[in-house]
């Protein structure tokens, strides 16, 4: 099943045997800007993945004809750096770590919300564009010096603490994309256990304060979805 959209539409391979999940995601229209090719078993998925040319690959783990991790291992063994998102029901204490260690770029557990999937795909596909080896990140009038661990706004040095800087850095690396709560907690602080406080809200609000109450706000709350760094 290939959805042909605009020529510039990113191409995603989704190896998934659950047709209902696929129909639900594609039917929702949230991923309409992406051309999705679906492979329903491990064998075909592997062949398509190794053929190359994808902007991102989504792998299920329990597939007819093998574990998605095996496909991932083959990809990485061939030196293919295409971003890979593992989308699975397996969420044992070690599963996420195993997946990431084997070369996955992100790990999302089913059941998931389509918005969450969409946000993660946006981050993954964006990741390729700016080199992540940058020494400094610049967005609008904010500048983050990754070597000296300092942040500046409009040339003025900001008084910012370590955890806040990590959060800011993640926003700066992924501007103009909605970042979900779960993504921020996992990516910035490695928290993949249930949280019972408004930890993220408090920290984002603190970061906004650090960036200056009077200056125009750059971190915006997207209701029900997460946060986004953008200029108005």
């Amino acid at each position: 099943m290939t959805n042909e959209w605009a020529a510039a539409a990113p191409e995603i391979l989704w190896v998934e045997d659950d047709r209902q999940t696929v129909a639900y995601v594609i039917g929702s229209g949230h991923l309409a800007h992406i051309a999705i090719t679906v492979a329903e078993d491990g064998k075909r998925g592997r062949a398509l993945a190794l053929a190359g040319g994808w902007d991102c690959i989504i792998l299920d783990r329990r597939l007819p004809g093998g574990d998605g991790l095996a496909i991932l291992a083959d990809l990485r063994a061939m030196g293919m750096l295409v971003p890979v998102l593992i989308l699975t029901t397996m969420d044992g204490i070690q599963d996420r770590v195993t997946g990431l260690r084997r070369g996955a770029d992100d790990y999302l557990v089913k059941p998931f919300s389509i918005r969450e999937l969409s946000a993660r795909l946006d981050v993954l596909m964006r990741r390729l564009r700016p080199p992540s080896q940058a020494m400094r990140l610049i967005f609008a009038d904010i500048e983050v010096d990754l070597v000296a661990r300092q942040a500046y706004r409009a040339g003025k040095k900001l008084f910012i603490q370590d955890q806040e800087l990590k959060l800011l850095e993640y926003f700066m690396r992924h501007p103009n994309i909605v970042l979900s709560h779960e993504m921020l907690l996992q990516a910035v602080w490695d928290i993949d256990f249930p949280i019972r406080t408004n930890l993220l809200e408090s920290n984002v609000s603190r970061l906004r304060d650090r960036l200056g109450r009077d200056a125009p706000s750059l971190i915006h709350t997207v209701r029900g979805q997460g946060y986004m760094l953008r200029v108005q």
Binding site: G92, Q94, V97, Q163, D190, P194, L199
Partner: protein
């Protein structure tokens, strides 16, 4: 004990047991050896006694013949007659060439040369039943001369040898079979105990164990190993059973609420009511999924015996990042979060995410269950071979009798119903701490409040091998 699953297909029988067979084989070997030795020595004694008698007979004969110039009937007759008179216990017979008795104290014999054994029937007197051992000789003139002696001693010795053979054979058989039987009974009783225990366990009594008698023998050794295996299996079965029960029981509440909310959504007439009901159902569903996933992880952690993916963690870094994260949260609640950095380079060996979860959970509990103005202190110190991490607050605390209960699954104390949570947090905390070989205690934080103390084994000088990855 019939052929059904859980029973043995046959009853253990002594005769079929290998110990009986071994002892029987051993007894058979003993029997053969013993009989051979007895028979040989008996034969030897008989042989030497026979030779002695023959020598005595030869002496008598030589004596009788010694005073005679020529070996014929005529010359011997008088010598034999005087010999009979002088020693009546020796038997003599002299026959002429026609087989007629010339002299002697016994009946005439067929003329056979050389050593011979005669039964008592050849002798007129006395009818004592004694056999005679003697020697016959054909004389030069065709006569026949026989000298014999009482052979009762030989006969009784032969009888003794046979008796010895029969009795010792019987003895060997009795001791072999009896010993085998008794030994097998003893062994089989031990095996039957083990087997019976196994069958009891299969019938569902999984707490049964093989009774040890402190004899420290090989059976005890086997039983000890089996008991250890059974303990391990029972713990795992209990854990699986516990998870199954937990899931079946604990999922019911959020699923029931989900049902109610969906019902309300279906009944709702106003669109905003419907949206609210659907939003609430999604929250219920999320809660159900979270409980489900937490219970599974909890089971996984409880079943593991070592922390996954362990690292050597500087405690100061761990505490600093948590303080950085939760400082703003506490501040928003009007509380103070104070981190007392540990002295020296305290370290912990363990899984970073799991240990972060432990401290995060304790800090969140303190924040959520304490009013504004509370002071929350996180400390770490070394105490002997242990590292003690403590999260203390000046909140309302937990009554002493409730402190053990809060570690139970899905336990939420009455005062905390309003705060968010599944009631699995502290169960998870304790499971993680135990996985790392530590223990957690809830204490009074004088003058009031709660103090959660996590005691973990301190790192040893060098990182263990499994840490270097």
């Amino acid at each position: 004990m019939d052929g059904q699953a859980g029973g043995t297909p046959w009853k253990l029988s002594v005769l079929r047991s290998s110990s009986f067979r071994i002892v029987a084989l051993f007894a058979a070997c003993c029997f053969i050896c013993g009989m051979t030795v007895t028979a040989l020595s008996g034969y030897r004694s008989l042989h030497s006694l026979t030779r002695q008698i023959h020598e005595a007979v030869a002496n008598e004969r030589d004596e009788a013949l010694s005073g005679v110039s020529s070996r014929d009937v005529a010359h011997l007759t008088s010598a034999i007659r005087s010999a009979i008179r002088s020693d009546p216990t020796v038997y003599y017979l002299l026959q002429d060439a026609h087989g007629r008795t010339v002299a002697g104290n016994m009946r005439d014999l067929p003329r056979i040369d050389g050593p011979r054994h005669l039964s008592w029937t050849w002798f007129p007197l006395p009818p004592d039943g004694h056999p005679v051992v003697g020697q016959g000789q054909v004389l030069d003139d065709g006569g026949y001369f026989f000298v014999g002696m009482d052979g009762a001693s030989l006969r009784s010795m032969r009888r003794d040898v046979w008796l010895t053979l029969v009795w010792s054979g019987g003895g060997f058989l009795l001791i072999g079979l009896g010993g085998g039987f008794v030994l097998s009974r003893l062994v089989l009783r031990r095996i039957e105990t083990i087997s019976q225990t196994a069958r009891d366990i299969m019938r569902g009594d999984i707490s049964r164990r093989i009774v040890l008698n402190a004899t420290n023998d090989e059976f005890e050794h086997l039983a000890g190993s089996l008991n250890a295996m059974l303990d391990r299996n029972e713990a795992q079965i209990a854990s699986i059973r516990q998870v199954t029960n937990d899931i079946a029981h604990d999922m019911r509440r959020p699923l029931a609420r989900l049902g109610e909310q969906l019902d309300m959504a279906a009944e709702a007439t106003a669109p905003q009511d419907r949206v609210r009901a659907i939003t609430r159902s999604m929250a219920c569903l999320d809660e159900a999924l979270e409980i489900f996933s937490t219970l599974l992880k909890l089971a996984q952690i409880e079943a593991d015996d070592r922390a996954p993916d362990p690292q050597r963690l500087p405690i100061a870094d761990l505490l600093a990042s948590l303080a950085g994260l939760y400082g703003p949260v506490a501040e928003d609640h009007g509380q103070t979060l104070v981190l007392v950095p540990p002295e020296g380079g305290l370290e912990l060996d363990g899984n970073r995410v799991l240990l972060t979860q432990v401290l995060a959970n304790l800090i969140e509990n303190a924040i959520n269950h304490s009013p504004a103005g509370t002071r929350i202190t996180v400390t770490a110190r070394r105490a002997g071979g242990k590292v003690v991490l403590a999260v203390a607050d000046t909140g309302p605390g937990i009554p002493a009798h409730e402190r053990e209960r809060v570690f139970g699954k899905m336990v939420r104390l009455d005062g905390s119903r309003a705060t968010p949570g599944t009631g699995l947090g502290l169960s998870m905390v304790r499971a993680i701490v135990r996985l790392h070989g530590g223990e957690i205690r809830l204490l009074d934080n004088a003058p009031h409040g709660l103090r959660c103390e996590v005691t973990m084994p301190a790192t040893t000088g060098r990182a263990p091998e499994w840490l270097v990855s």
